[in-house]
Symmetry: D4
C-alpha cells in the first residue's frame, strides 16, 4: 500500500485512490490526463476492504478538493470515500469480471444522500476531465485547457 506522490505533496487539488495495484492501467490513464490539464495530484493505492483504517485516515486528513476512486469487482472504494467527506467523489468502475458490470453497479447505485459521480467502465480519462470541469468552477483558468483536450 505504498504512496506515489507527485511534486508539492500536500498541495494537490486531487487525490486518485485505487483499490489495487492491478488497476494501474486505469490509474495511469487518469493521471496522464490530469497532467495534461496541469492538475497536480496525489496517487494512492489503498484498498477499502483490506486497509479501511488507512483509507479512512487518508480521506479525513487529505486537503484535496476532490477524490477519484478507481476499483473493480464489489467496488466500494468510491462509496467509502463519499461516506467520509462532502467533497465530490468521482468513481471509475474497472472491468475485472462480468465486463465490469459488478463494479459499475456497486459504484453508481449509491443510496440516497451519499452520491458518487460515476463515469464509464475503465474510463479514467473521463474521470480526469470531469475532475477538471468541476475544479474549473473554482479555478476558471482550467477551462481553456479542458476545451483544448476535448478537441
Amino acid at each position: 500500500m505504498k504512496t506515489e506522490s507527485k511534486k508539492k505533496q500536500g498541495q494537490e487539488k486531487i487525490a486518485i485512490i485505487a483499490g489495487s495495484k492491478s488497476d494501474i492501467k486505469i490509474v495511469d490513464d487518469t493521471s496522464k490526463t490530469l497532467s495534461l490539464l496541469g492538475l497536480d495530484h496525489d496517487i494512492q493505492f489503498i484498498s477499502a476492504h483490506r486497509s479501511p483504517e488507512q483509507l479512512r485516515k487518508f480521506v479525513l486528513t487529505s486537503k484535496v478538493d476532490l477524490f477519484i476512486g478507481i476499483a473493480g469487482l464489489s467496488a466500494q472504494l468510491p462509496g467509502f470515500i463519499a461516506s467520509l467527506t462532502s467533497r465530490p467523489v468521482i468513481g471509475v468502475p474497472v472491468d475485472v469480471k462480468l465486463g465490469g458490470l459488478d463494479a459499475l453497479l456497486s459504484i453508481v447505485q449509491m443510496p440516497p444522500r451519499v452520491p458518487v459521480a460515476c463515469v464509464g467502465v475503465d474510463n479514467g480519462k473521463n474521470a480526469a476531465i470531469l475532475a477538471g470541469e468541476i475544479l474549473a468552477l473554482k479555478y476558471p483558468l482550467l477551462l481553456k485547457k479542458i476545451q483544448d483536450i476535448r478537441k
Copy 2:
C-alpha cells in the same frame, strides 16, 4: 416543452433539464433537495431527440454553473448537454423499461473526453446533493447545509 422557472430567472446556479414530462417525479425529488440546500435552479422539459435545436440554444446561452440531465430509455440528454459545454453535467437515469438499465448504460458509458457524472437509477436526490458538493468548491457556505442534509 414549456419552462417552469423559479424566482430570479437568469441568476440560477443550476439547470435541471428533463427529457419528458413523464420524468416529473424524479425532477421533483431533485428540485426539492436543491431547495433544501438553498440552491436556486431552473427547470426545463426539453427532449434531446424531439427538440434538439431548443436544447442546444438553452445550453449555449444558459449561465448556470452546472446542469442536471434527467432521462429514461436511450437517455442521450445528459450526453448531449455534455457535448456542448465544459461545465459539469450530472445525469440521472430514469426507469422506464428494463429496470432503467438502458438509461443507465446510455448515460454512464460516454466516450473518452466527454464525461457525464452519473448517479443511480431514479436517484434525483443524489444528483442534487452531488450538485451541492460540486458548487461548494466555489461557494463554501454550502458545505454546512450539505452536511445537515446528509445526516
Copy 3:
C-alpha cells in the same frame, strides 16, 4: 439510527445490521428464524454510507460471534463489516432496483482476502439458518434445532 436490542444485551451471539429502515421486512424474516433457533441477537439499523463512524465503532466493540449485513442498491454494508473484523459476515442482498442484481453483485464480488458469505436476494431466512449452522460448530446443541427447522 436507533437500536432495537433483544434481552441480555451485550451477550448476543449474532448482530443483524441493516442499512436502512426500509429493509425491515428482510430484517424481520431473519430475526424470526434466529428466534426459532433460540439464538439471541442484536438488531441495528446503521447505514455504511450515512453513518460509517457509528458502524465502525459498533463492529469494533461488538462481542458477537458473527454479523448478518442486510442492504440494497450498492450494498456495501456487509463488505464494510468484513473489512473491520475476521469474524464471519453473512450478506443479504435486498431488491430495491434492478431485481436486486446490483445488491447481489455488490455483496458477493468481494476482492480477495475479505470474504462475505452471500445468500440469495431477499433471503433473510437463509441468512439466519446459515448463521445457525456456523455457530453449531461451537454450540453443537444448535444442530437439532436447525434440523427441525429445515424439515
Copy 4:
C-alpha cells in the same frame, strides 16, 4: 475528423457516419456491402459527442436519402442524426464494452416519435442491405442486386 468521400461527392444516396476511427472495421463491412449493391456513399468520422456542431451541419446540409450511424458505448450518434432529420436512420451498435449491450440499448431504445432502425451488434453488413432494401422502394433496379447478395 477528416472526411473520406467516394466519387461523385454530393450525389451519394447514403452517408455512413461513424463516431470514432476505432469503428473502422464495421465501417468497412458496411461500405463494401454498399459497393456490392452499386450504391455510392459518403463516409464520415464525426463524433456526436466531440463534434456535435460539425455533425449537425453535416446532417442538415447533406442531400443523401438515408443515414447509417455506427457507434459504440453510449452510442448516441444514430439518435442524434434522427433528431435532426425525417429521413431514415439506420444504427449499428459496436462492441467496445459489455459485449455491445450498452451500444445496442442506447441505439434501439429511442423515445417515441424519433425512431432509429437498429441492426445487430457489429453487423454493418446488415445495415448496408437494409439500406438497399429501403432505397429499392425508390430505385427498383436495386432489388435484383439485393437478391443476388442475399443468396
Copy 5:
C-alpha cells in the same frame, strides 16, 4: 388467426403482422400512428410458430411496400418475414417476460444478409413513424405529415 383489414384491401402500402392477439395494445399504437400519417394498412394476427404456412403465403402474395412485425418472447416473426422478402421489415419487440430483453435480442441479432429494422421494446409508435420515413422516399408528400407528428 382472423384478418382485420382496413378499407381498400389489397392496396395498402403497409402490413402490420402480430404474433398473438395479446399484442393488441402495441398493434393499436402502431395502427393509430400510421392512420395519423394517412397510411392505409392491413392488420394481421398470424403466428410465425403456429401458422407458418399461412404467414408464408401472406408474405409471398402481399403487395405492400413494407412489413411491421410485432412479437414477444422468442420473437421470430419479423425475421421470418425478412427471410421471405427483400422489402423492408420493421420489428417491434413486446415485453412478455424478462422486460422484453428476449424479444429484443431475438429480433435485432439477425444473421448477416437478412436484416430487420428493430425499434425499442413496446414502441409501436416508432415503428409507424419509421415506416413513414421509409415510404417518404417514394411518396414525398408524406414528409410534411411526419414532421407534424414529430413536433
Copy 6:
C-alpha cells in the same frame, strides 16, 4: 448450403441442422456423441433466414424421428423446425455474440404450443445424449449405450 450425409441416407433417425458453416465445431461435438451412441444421422447446413424454402422442404420431407437445430445470434432455426413438425426438436444455442445469451433466449422462450427442448450454450454433446434418451423410449437397446457414455 451443401449436404453432408452419413451412410444409409434416408434411414437416419436424427437430423442435425445448423444455421451456418461457422457452427461446425458444435455440429462435430453433436455428431461424434451421436456416433458413440450408434445413432445414424444426417447433417445439414441450412439457414432458416437465408434458405427458408430449402429448410421447409427438408423438414416436411424428412423421415427422421427428431431434429437437432444448432444456431447462434437470433437463433430461429430450432423454432422454425418446431413450427413445421410435431416431432421433438432439440435446440443448441451457439455463442457468437453476448456470450450466447441472445441465442439462448431466442431458442428457449418459444410461445405456448410450439416447444423446443433447449440445452446449454455450445453444448452439442448434451443435445446428442438428450436425443438418445428420447429415442430410447422407442429403441430400448439404446439405454445401455447412454449409460456407458454418461459414466
Copy 7:
C-alpha cells in the same frame, strides 16, 4: 410434501415434480395440457433441496417414461432428476426472482453428459406438449391430439 396422484397410480407415463407448493400455477398449466392430450400423470411436490432422499427414492422407483421438473430460483430439481435417470427430463424455470433468469440458467446450463430439456420461463404448457411429442415416438396415436392442440 404430499402426493396428489391421478387415477391408475403406478401406470402413469409422466411424473410432474415441482419444488414447491408455490409453483402450483405452473403445475396446473402443465397438468391441464397433459390431460388434453389424454396423458395420465402423477403430480408430486418434492423439493430437491429439502427432501433429496424422498426425491431420490421417487425417481429411482418410478416407472414413468419421462419426468417434468418445475422449479424457481436455483432450480436444481430437473438436473437432480437427470442425474439419477437416463429417461428424458423436461425442465420448466419459474419466475420467482430476477424475471426467472436464475431458474432458466440453473436448468439449461447443465454440464456435458447430463442433459435437461429446458422450455421457456413459466411455460408449463410447452413442457406438456414437448412431453407429448416425445411420447408420440412410442405411442403414435398421440400425434393426432398434439396436432389438434397446436392449432
Copy 8:
C-alpha cells in the same frame, strides 16, 4: 473421479469438492490458502450430476466441519451438499460460460431453509479465508493466521 487427499486422511476439518477436473485452478487457489492457514483438507472431484450417489455417500460419511463446493455452469454441487447436511457449505461459482453469471445465480439463489454461503466468481481464495473465519469460532488459534493472511 479420483481422490487426492492430504496427510492424516479422515481427520481433515474441511473438504473441497469440485464438480470437474477443469475447475483445477480454482481448487488450487483454495487449497493453497487453506494450507497457509494450516488447515488440513481433503480434495475431491465428484460431479453432482454425473456421480450423485458417490457425492451423496461422501457427504453423509465425511467427518469434516465444513464443505467448500466449486462448480461452473448450472452449479448445483454446493446446493446438493447443503441438502444433505446441516454443516456449513461454501460455494464458489466458476466462470465457464456467460462470465460465470449462470454459476453465481445457481449457487446463491438457494430456496429458503437450505443456505449456501456464496463467494465471488472464481474466488477460491475467499472461500478458504471464509472457511478459516468460520472454523476460528471453534479453533480460536486460527484467528492470528487469518489476520496475517489478510494483511
